[in-house]
């Protein structure tokens, strides 16, 4: 039963293979430890309880999907910045190479080359600004510790509306 659940969880996380492997191992350890700690002697019932307490595999995978997407976005942003830096170095190297070889262009192409250089330059700086802005945006969207403040309103409302009740707070 636990193996079936782990297969389902791994399948739901198949969008990220390394994440899927890691979460599967963590979940496996968790579930078997929960079974071992179950006071009832019935193995099957203990497994059912452990899985029920662990939660819906799809819901858990959905939470991981958000994290995985954010991580991949950040990686893509940093890769874009690296590519831009590489292009910049290549452009500078090309200019240095022309200077070193004393390469000259004909008079007929000189006017056109000036225009091309301008387009080249502004396109580069534009892409650099867009790339850095995207990177800053991605990094700024990280929310490692959800702040208390944004939900303070909800919390206040729930506190004010809630009558004393015996049942525990629940995610379910």
């Amino acid at each position: 039963m636990i193996q079936d659940y782990l297969e389902l969880l791994a399948h739901e996380l198949s969008f990220d293979r390394s994440l899927s492997r890691r979460v599967r191992q963590e979940a496996e350890d968790h579930l078997w430890e929960a079974v071992a700690a179950d006071p009832a002697g019935n193995m099957l019932a203990a497994q059912q309880r452990a899985i029920a307490n662990f939660g819906d595999a799809r819901a858990i995978a959905a939470q991981f999907a958000v994290i995985s997407l954010a991580r991949h976005s950040r990686r893509a942003g940093f890769a874009a910045v690296l590519v831009i830096a590489g292009v910049f170095i290549a452009m500078k190297a090309r200019i240095s190479w022309y200077a070193a070889t004393q390469w000259v262009i004909s008079d007929s192409l000189r006017a056109v080359s000036g225009l091309v250089v301008q387009i080249d330059r502004y396109a580069f700086w534009l892409s650099l600004i867009i790339g850095l802005s995207a990177c800053v945006y991605i990094v700024s969207r990280r929310s490692p510790l959800r702040s208390i403040r944004p939900i303070a309103g909800n919390f206040a409302v729930s506190l004010c509306c809630a009558a004393p009740r015996p049942q525990p707070l629940s995610f379910r």
Binding site: F54, R146, R149, C160, A162, L169, S170, F171
Partner: protein, 118 residues
């Protein structure tokens, strides 16, 4: 109201996990859940699997670090530890929570919350 309570807990899950790890020391997911249950007196009835996305998110943010270890059972398990950044984040969250709690206490109890320094 049940959903509202769920959202309330979800919004504080990261802080709860950091606090549990701070109290328990290095621990794996199951031990963290047990620590949360023990210290909250069983008040938080959260699906246990929910802890893992939070752990991964906090690790990505640099607030936790983790290593694979082998348990006595022979199974591999991921053990999480608070980083210095995690310690600092928890201290900050405690301060914010205290201010928030004082404010709500003032509203519900009819007493004025402590004045915040300018």
């Amino acid at each position: 109201m049940q959903g509202m309570e769920g959202e309330m807990l979800k919004g504080h899950l990261d802080m709860i996990v950091l606090a549990a790890l701070s109290a328990a020391g290095p621990a794996h997911g199951y031990a963290i859940i047990e620590e949360i249950k023990r210290r909250s007196g069983g008040a938080f009835d959260l699906p246990e699997g929910t802890i893992y996305p939070a752990l991964h998110r906090l690790e990505q943010a640099g607030l936790l670090k983790s290593i694979w270890m082998t348990a006595d059972s022979g199974r591999r398990r991921r053990v999480y530890t608070l980083t210095r950044g995690g310690d600092r984040a928890l201290v900050e969250q405690r301060v914010v929570w205290k201010q928030f709690s004082d404010a709500i206490g003032g509203l519900l109890g009819g007493t004025r919350p402590r004045e915040r320094p300018a």
